[in-house]
Subunit: 264 residues, 2 copies
């Protein structure tokens, strides 16, 4: 059997790249002696079979979401397979780093099931990695697309509105509540378009489309700096790099949703 193991090279939560711009890998011996290892899966890409692991860093990510421009540039350069692998691994090891104690009783927890679970030795609660569903939506009115600029975003950058699904909501209800909270507008005919895992720290982005019942905005200024409606021509020009706003990056689902909308 051609069995080998390898360790994803991570500096805290940053990936390292090899000379070809691919994710760099090391051997299990590279991990700190007391590091917790998480099994990522088997790689059969080169004929053999390699078990892939990542090590849990001493500390999780405490930075505000999406605050690291170096990481963003790096992610934009990764090929899709590497990006997906890095994203999944990052979510998982970051969850471990932020869940070393039992939320039920406060005692220390230990990894189980090759790193896809943590168990409490005191009260025996089992804990699983979390994945938070988030709706992200394109609302249109009279052929114009509603996009927003979040507080703290650079001037001129617009994207789809988004928000966490709350306990007790359907996807469709979450979309309607979010648009009403952030833009003051009621919507109809919410439809699902596409989804994407997003590892900051561990979201499942659920991309939807809906129709706004009006274009009379009442913006929640605690969350949004601006919300505006753009014509199809303005959106197309911006996506081509020559329009009134800066678009979301190519690896974000908002980009995919806007591309999809331009084809509808």
């Amino acid at each position: 059997m051609n069995w080998k193991a390898r360790l994803l090279a991570l500096d805290a939560l940053m990936p390292s790249l090899d000379d070809y711009g691919r994710l760099a890998w090391g051997s299990l011996a590279d991990a700190a002696e007391d590091a917790e290892l998480v099994f990522l899966g088997l790689d059969r890409s080169d004929g053999g079979e390699r078990a892939c692991f990542a090590a849990v860093p001493p500390r999780g990510d405490a930075s505000p979401r999406m605050a690291n421009p170096q990481l963003w540039a790096l992610m934009a350069s990764l090929e899709p397979g590497d990006l997906a692998l890095y994203g999944g691994a990052r979510s998982l090891v970051d969850w471990h780093a932020r869940h070393r104690f039992c939320a039920q009783c406060g005692a220390p927890t230990k990894p189980a099931k090759a790193g896809w679970q943590r168990n409490c030795g005191a009260c025996h609660a089992q804990h699983f990695p979390r994945t938070d569903p988030v709706t992200i939506m394109l609302a249109e009115h009279d052929g114009r697309l509603m996009l927003g600029r979040g507080k703290g975003w650079p001037e001129g950058r617009f994207s789809a509105l988004a928000g966490f699904v709350e306990p007790g909501e359907t996807i469709e209800e979450a979309v309607a509540r979010e648009v009403f909270e952030e833009a003051g507008i009621r919507v109809r005919d919410v439809t699902y378009v596409a989804s994407q895992p997003w590892p900051f720290p561990s979201q499942l982005m659920i991309g939807c489309h809906c129709h706004a019942l009006s274009d009379e905005l009442e913006i929640d200024t605690t969350e949004m700096a601006e919300v505006r409606f753009f014509t199809r021509e303005e959106v197309a020009a911006s996506m081509a790099g020559d329009g009134p706003f800066a678009t979301p990056p190519r690896h974000a689902i908002a980009h995919t949703l806007i591309e999809w909308w331009l084809k509808t």
Copy 2:
């Protein structure tokens, strides 16, 4: 201002019903003196405005998922609005009861934001109620529908296969992995159908449809007792109460999905 507050009557996590079969409510004074209160929202149904709360019970739900037949019968009797309200409230107070300590450092946490957050006084981590996305899917092959009976389910009861979305997956990838893991079958053309919050303890059920590439089952016997393909006639007869299997209860999304499929 006609401002009143009321408290959802819960015995541990069981709802109480009034003489009309509606959810029973009490006053805030009914809560234990040291109980944590969670704000559920404003009820404007009778012209006035009533703030609705629920109290966090001393203990969360440690029972196996869906193990309480009394609760199930009771839920089946609730009208949709009450069922949704109970479900959301139950998820939220159960989350509080199982998250009294900080997963990052082990110190006690305190509720914040009217019960929609918990904060750690020691390391200042913020914790939010979790909602776990779960895919639940109808796979069909040659016009026949694949349904399964989980381990420990009563003889003759069949429903849609289901499983948690894992970190790093899209909804579509989760559906394909789940069907392959539980039934050994590859699928194509995954589409989204409908979603439902499910409070045991706090799932977002994401209902999908897909086409199975074959009907050669390889069943994961650690999870499933049986997986079978049923003809359209068999499924229709079972939904009418006179077929080869017992269907999922009316308030479960699997029921809605099967009804939807029979109309396609």
